[in-house]
């Protein structure tokens, strides 16, 4: 806990310098994931550079910053979604439980089952029913137990605050839902495989206030067991749901620390300007 506190509040633009082994042996229980000197480039364009940031268990980490500053880029690097982005190159390390997920021997599929992601835009599988969309991550790897699938589907849809709206038409196509419903369907689909770390890229940007607050409740609920990273443009939301906040600007992590501290007493002038609405 103490060590946790130490990390929070520190300006993390330089290397954290914690050797791999130490995390494994000493456990540093709070830190679930950690990026070290992470740089992502799209061809010659830099998406983010030299990001070192810890992601703690049972905490919500919010990533904020103006549009185009690299929040999505960073988030996607945490579960190797850049692997199939054409001309994207990742350098540096991302540690999950002390192991570098970019190690050549690591299978990205295993990483993605542990680190789930919810994208900025909803993407239901167009030909699949609502039910099959939700359980796709189980069914398509060979789980056939109908009872289990039904249970998972109901739980995930309830968590995503969608169950009541779709319970009578689980067999209609996922594409037949409204935009906001599709977003919650994507959330349910990600939750169905029970990831340990959940990455959310503006999960509530297409939702009405009521669904948004349900998703926020869900985040509170999930945080008891998981590590959560959320990208949001809604500063009130970031303030409400997050424990730690990272402020990105032009591809760099300008400031990272406890949300309370960043909101009340930011160390960096840019952070302050952004939070007070002077730019962004």
């Amino acid at each position: 806990m103490l060590k946790n506190k130490k990390l929070a509040g520190a300006v993390v633009s330089e290397k954290t310098n914690i050797p791999n082994k130490k995390i494994e042996e000493n456990g540093l229980p709070g830190i679930r994931m950690e990026s070290r000197d992470l740089t992502v480039k799209y061809g010659t364009v830099t998406g983010v550079k030299n990001i070192s940031l810890p992601i703690c268990n049972e905490k919500v980490t919010a990533l904020i910053g103006p549009s185009g500053c690299g929040k999505t880029t960073f988030l996607r690097s945490l579960n190797r979604m850049h692997d199939i982005t054409r001309n994207a190159t990742v350098s540096g390390e991302v540690l999950l439980d002390g192991r570098n997920i970019y190690h050549p021997k690591v299978n990205p599929v295993d990483i993605r089952r542990k680190v789930g992601i919810i994208f900025q835009k909803p993407t239901p599988f167009p030909t699949m029913s609502i039910f099959n969309n939700v359980v796709a991550g189980l069914k398509l790897v060979g789980i056939k137990n109908k009872k289990l699938l039904n249970e998972v589907c109901e739980r995930a849809l309830k968590q995503a605050a969608l169950f009541d709206e779709v319970k009578d038409r689980l067999n209609s196509p996922g594409g037949s839902l409204s935009g906001g419903q599709q977003q919650r369907l994507s959330i349910a689909r990600a939750l169905a495989i029970e990831p340990e770390v959940i990455l959310m890229d503006e999960p509530t940007s297409s939702l009405d206030p009521q669904s948004s607050s349900k998703i926020e409740d869900l985040i509170h609920e999930l945080k008891k067991n998981y590590a959560i990273v959320i990208v949001t443009h809604n500063l009130q939301q970031a303030g409400r749901v997050s424990d730690n906040t990272g402020f990105f600007y032009l591809g760099e992590l300008v400031e990272f620390g406890e949300t309370e501290k960043i909101y009340t007493n930011p160390a960096n002038k840019r952070t302050e300007e952004y939070l007070t609405g002077k730019f962004g």
């Binding site: 199939i84 054409r86 992601i117 993407t123």
Partner: protein
């Protein structure tokens, strides 16, 4: 404030609009015209030779037709079905695999080589594909056969299927693949279970175009399946021995010196046309059917 009617009156714009619609209608007719002419011409000439015998009797020798004995093309129709079926069975997995490779694994080092090979195969005249099948199958087997004809037509189908599969898959947004990967599915599973179902209309259409193209080829069959005036004694003879097919039979009936056979040739044309049209109708129905599983 600028008034648009200064430049063009409403009346002028209406006229322009009508002119464009007329132009498009004219183009549509011009596209349909060759098709209508072909269908009309074949039907008018062949309709008199359409009878029950055509679908129940084998051709036999020219004497048979000249003496007015019953003669038909049942062996040709069955042969066409066998050879075309063999061709699609061979071509479908290969073409599909190549198309998936081209679209889904653009970074793979074999990708550019495959693209060159596929484009070359696509541009190669069909008769050379027949020659290839002749060298690969007929020579070693020591006989013309339905199997070699199937291979020859498969060589026609493969590059078409590969290309159409590639473009059908490419038309599916990249985000669908990301969504699949994001829930921890391996890449092949994402392609198989999320991308391909979404692209199924395009995939089936591609198969059909390839099939119809190959089903109409006569040249590559001349020295592979070769042709046969009779039904084989045993059905395996259609695969392992020389067998008749509609386009090649149409050709040999047409160049024959017998008037009766010319008429039969037109009838063969109708059957071939009907075959292809039926395929397209089936494909339309298949792709329209709703299936969300």
């Amino acid at each position: 404030m600028k008034n648009f009617s200064e430049h063009k009156t409403l009346w002028q714009r209406n006229l322009w609009d009508r002119f464009m619609v007329a132009l498009l209608t004219f183009s549509t007719i011009m596209v349909m015209l060759p098709l209508l002419i072909i269908i009309g011409y074949v039907v008018v000439n062949g309709i008199s030779a359409l009878n029950w015998d055509l679908f129940t009797q084998e051709l036999g020798s020219p004497a048979r037709a000249m003496q007015g004995k019953s003669t038909g093309l049942i062996h040709t129709m069955l042969g066409t079905a066998v050879v075309d079926l063999l061709a699609i069975i061979i071509a479908a997995p290969v073409g599909l695999g190549a198309g998936i490779m081209l679209s889904e694994y653009p970074d793979h080092k074999l990708n550019p080589i495959l693209r060159v090979i596929n484009d070359t195969l696509n541009g190669m005249p069909a008769i050379l594909k027949g020659l290839l099948a002749f060298a690969l199958i007929v020579k070693p087997m020591g006989t013309f056969s339905g199997l070699s004809g199937g291979f020859a037509l498969a060589f026609v189908m493969i590059p078409i299927i590969a290309r159409s599969t590639e473009s059908a898959l490419m038309s599916i947004p990249w985000s669908i693949r990301e969504a699949g990967l994001a829930i921890g599915l391996p890449r092949w599973r994402v392609v198989l279970s999320t991308v391909m179902p979404a692209a199924r209309t395009g995939l089936v259409t591609g198969f059909l175009i390839a099939f119809a193209r190959a089903a109409g080829e006569a040249a590559p069959l001349m020295f592979t399946s070769f042709g046969n005036n009779y039904l084989p004694n045993h059905w395996t003879g259609m695969i392992l021995g020389p067998v008749d097919t509609l386009p090649q039979r149409l050709y040999s009936l047409a160049i024959s010196p017998y008037k009766e056979w010319h008429e039969l040739g037109w009838a063969a044309g109708i059957v071939l046309l009907g075959f292809v049209v039926t395929l397209f109708i089936i494909a339309r129905m298949l792709t329209r059917e709703k299936n969300y599983d």
